[in-house]
Symmetry: C2
Subunit: 210 residues, 2 copies
Amino acid sequence: MDDKNISQAVVARLPRYYRYLGDLRDSGIERISSQDLSKLMKVTASQIRQDFNNFGGFGQQGYGYNVEYLYNEIARILGLNEKHNLIIVGAGNLGQALANYMNFERRGFIVKGIFDNDPDLYGKELRGIHVQPVENIEQFIKENDIDIAVLTIPKNGAVKTAELLVRCNIKAIWNFAHVDLNLPDHIAVENVHLSDSLMKLSYSIVNGNR
Amino acid sequence: MDDKNISQAVVARLPRYYRYLGDLRDSGIERISSQDLSKLMKVTASQIRQDFNNFGGFGQQGYGYNVEYLYNEIARILGLNEKHNLIIVGAGNLGQALANYMNFERRGFIVKGIFDNDPDLYGKELRGIHVQPVENIEQFIKENDIDIAVLTIPKNGAVKTAELLVRCNIKAIWNFAHVDLNLPDHIAVENVHLSDSLMKLSYSIVNGNR
C-alpha cells in the first residue's frame, strides 16, 4: 500500500471520515456499509469507495467496513499515531485560545513552547508553559524536536517569522496570519484565514444562499 | 450586472482578491494589470479575468484595473458595505478570542451579544459585552437584528443550538463546533474545523508535502 501521491482533494476529505468514524465507534457501531456511511456523510457511496481505494480499499464488498479498523487506518494515514510537537508564535487572544484547546493534545499535537515579542507577555503561564521572547525560537526548535509552528501573529510580522521558521527547518506551519506565506514546497502550510470565511458568509447573506 | 448564480468557487476566491487589493491600496498603488496581479497572487491572468467577468469585468483591457474601484466593488459584492450584527454562542477560550478580535469590527461585523450555558461565565465582560445565559438567545435575536451566529461550543450541544438559531431566523452560522450542521438551504453555513486542518498538516509531515 502506497500512501504517496494521493490527491490533495482526497487528503482534505480524510479528517471528515476520521471524525464520522470516531463518532460511530463511540456509539458502539462495529460495521458500516458504504451506503450507510454515504447517507450519514451526505457524499455518494461511489465517492467513498473511490477515496478508500487510494489506500487499498479497507473493506470487503457487500460486507461493509469494520469501523474500528477503518478509524485506526485513517488515523495512521493522517499520521495521528505519531506525536507532533508544536510551538505557538503569537500569545495574543487567538494564540492563547489555541494553547488552551485540550482537544489537540488528545490527538497527539503537543504544545511545547509559546512565543511573543511583547515583553508584557514574557513569563505569562498558559497551561504550564511560560511565554518566551521570539528570539528564543531558533534554539528552542533545535532542542525540542518541533514539527509544527502555529502562527498567530499580525500579518506584518508573519512573513519574516515564517522565513525564520524555514531556516530552523520547521516541517509545517499552521498559519492564522492574514497573509499568504510563499514558502519552499517541502514546508507544509495550512492557512486558516478567519476573515475570508466571514466574508463568504456576508456574501451569502447579501446575495441569498445558494 | 447580476451578482446572483456566481459559482461557489469564484465567491471563495473573492476575499483573497479583496485582501491583495487592500494591500495594494494601502501601498498607494492606483492601477494594476491582470498580469501583475497574477504574478503577485500566483494565479493565472486568465483566471483573474474570468473571475472578474462574472461581475462585469471591472476594467479596461490593456489599461489595467483601478485598484481603489476594484477594492470597493469587491467589498460591495461581498456585502462588506453593510454592517452585520453577530452573536457569539460559547464564551470559552475560542469565543473569547473571537470576541476580542478587533479586525472583524473594522470590516463591519459587530459583536452584539455573547452567550454561554456556564453560570460561572454569566456577567463576565468581554469588550463591554456581558455574557448571558443561552436561554436569552431567542429574545435577543428578535430585538437586535442579528444576522450571524458564531458557534464556539463543543460538538455535543452544537446541533441543538443550531436548530434553535434556525427557529430564530438567523441568516448565517459561522460554525467552529467540530460537527457538520445539516441546516435548511437558505441558512448560510461556514465551517471552521480547526482539527481538520491540523490533521492535513500531520498528513503532509508524515507523507511528505506535495
